[in-house]
Symmetry: C2
Subunit: 374 residues, 2 copies
């Protein structure tokens, strides 16, 4: 399906020709010729299967079958129709098809904030996969509000074939209700009975904890994200597990917004814990904390070690560069689309890639420096 609409100019000329010849040869004109299907105001109408029918002499149903039901028409006919479609610049109208089939070829990706670098790779991966599957990906923003999320999903429900909820803040019941109408895949969250894609964080966290342990840290703070974010609680839980194993204590701050600003405002909370190292819920918060340290004359890593999560764009450029735990969100995005488009069990099985988080050592972590709790 790679009809280069390139030939747009050419196609338009042909189109005009078709329209002209239509009025001439009108032997069995069954429709009112004055109705012009809408495109742009003053724009040229799109090419339809009826146009192809007219130029090839076959009926619209044959055109439809030739283009979308392989093997249902004579090879020669199919060839001729394909050629005509190509030269006219025909593109199927997904909306019209939907009316009868109910399938839109569209998947929705619902996330809190498209300008959040955390989602970059997720979006990219999902997009890549969707393109390969011949699906259109639609992204909806929720601005971190569960009510907006609910609203967005409701609006999208009638027009998409499936929905990917990334870092959803909806209640479990709400998600279940949605999943009963359309196929749903969760990303960065689990819920019994609903397919989900969650990178395995343990390896990355273990390496990070070991790293901190080797540097002499015995008390680590967790800079928490919003309380209704499953992933924030999940990361804390895993961190606690691994830290306990390594003989390190973990103390979590009160929840803050998962943004640069949220991280920046948490410096005070962090210092109060007396911890010598911080693991932030995500890189944005870690970067904010880094900035606050700079403003507050807390040397990093001299006075405080900082570890982020996700390895977003920009983490490499901070000063010092941010040590972080990279999550394979691009793969997660692909995976999510795959789960949504997979039709049989075999496909589901085939998608079982590991999705492991990876510790990325940079410059924001160093030897523990005992510091009196403020």
């Amino acid at each position: 399906m790679r009809v280069g609409f390139v030939v747009c100019t050419t196609a338009c000329e042909i189109m005009e020709h078709v329209l002209r010849s239509r009025s001439q040869s009108g032997k069995v004109t069954l429709v009112s010729p004055e109705h012009v299907p809408a495109s742009a105001p003053g724009g040229k109408p799109a090419v339809t299967i009826y146009d192809i029918a007219r130029t090839t002499g076959f009926s619209p149903s044959t055109i439809s079958r030739a283009l979308h039901k392989p093997g249902r028409v004579k090879p020669a006919t199919e060839k001729a129709i394909r050629a005509a479609a190509e030269s006219l610049g025909y593109r199927i109208n997904p909306m019209a098809r939907f009316v009868t089939t109910g399938r839109t070829g569209t998947l929705a990706l619902v996330l809190s904030d498209i300008t959040n670098p955390v989602f970059f790779d997720l979006v990219r991966g999902a997009e890549r996969r969707a393109a390969r599957e011949g699906q259109t990906l639609v992204i909806a923003e929720t601005h971190g509000s569960s009510s907006i999320e609910q609203e967005a999903v409701g609006r999208l429900l009638p027009t998409v074939d499936g929905i990917i909820l990334a870092s959803s803040r909806l209640e479990q019941d709400q998600i279940r209700a949605i999943s009963e109408h359309k196929n749903v895949v969760l990303v960065n969250r689990t819920l019994a009975g609903v397919p989900s894609v969650v990178p395995q964080l343990q390896p990355g966290i273990r390496d990070a904890v070991n790293h901190l342990g080797a540097l002499g840290h015995v008390s680590v703070a967790f800079l928490a994200g919003p309380i209704n974010l499953w992933m924030s609680r999940h990361r804390l839980r895993l961190l606690e597990e691994e830290a306990t194993r390594a003989g390190i204590s973990v103390v979590a701050t009160s929840p803050a917004e998962p943004t640069v600003e949220g991280g920046r405002q948490s410096l005070h909370d962090i210092l109060e814990t007396g911890a010598t190292a911080v693991v932030a819920y995500n890189d944005l918060m870690a970067i904010g904390l880094l900035l606050a340290c700079g403003e507050g004359n807390v040397p990093v890593p001299g006075g405080l070690s900082i570890i982020g999560f996700d390895d977003i764009f920009g983490s490499r450029f901070t000063s010092p560069p941010l040590t972080t735990i990279r999550t394979p969100l691009a793969l997660a995005g692909e995976e999510a689309v795959l789960l949504l488009t997979a039709t049989d069990a075999a496909d589901h099985m085939a998608s079982g890639e590991p999705l492991l988080a990876e510790f990325v050592l940079r410059g924001s972590t160093g030897a523990a420096v005992p510091r009196p709790a403020a």
Copy 2:
């Protein structure tokens, strides 16, 4: 190659009836229940205007008019129909509507790379405005390839009401061809006969040039982006104008990819020019150059002053923080949507905001230090 982005503007409720229940086989096996077409996974067909017609006793056409053509039916009738629609949980099917009206309520935003921070604010602005106009915004990625851009546009063409081309790399004829089918608005590019939104860069560039002049720079290099990017040529041209006015010479490097990597690989070219300051096509390239300087032991701003363009996310966090020329892309995004949705000349006039670029002084610029051309 299609990424969509939808802004939800109208509240809606999730349908309540649930006939089919998904198999509860846990999260691992993800078995899809037999072969249920994704079209109507709820099993319960959506409620249509025909259902409302049946319960209220009016004809479908009256239902349609009551709901969408204010004033065309008797107030009492409209009230009754609205009530019935509400209680049945009716939602209009946008796809079906499209078939007759040709209007989808969807706008496309075509850009090279959604993970490019340059487009953050553009996307955000466009989204905000589209939401306010009750439109859905779909984003398509082109990965900087004009052929992919063509394909993406071609695929989107039949399903959207209008298209925003951001930093398009298409040929003029191709853009004109598209604009014959649908409304088109260009961002960061101009083309006679096609509406466009281009921030006024002159004020920001003038301030930047004056700044460099005050620091004693007499030779400035322009780190050029791709040759087929109108905006890259445009920035060079304006820079040359202002520099000439200030008695500063400008030399452009050979074109490079507008990415961090592209900037990083250009350090050698830059040093060869013998210039004491660089203006990069965008912040990504400036950041790449900054990194290369760090690796190549070229102090910034001690040995080289660097100025970027756009003030993207991350520019604030580099070391040193990047001096840049901020472009009001959020406003540009709003403006583009406005132009697309404006129906009469009056609306076009109302949108005439200035969109001025602004010089942002940070830490990557300093006094000129003469250096022999390598």
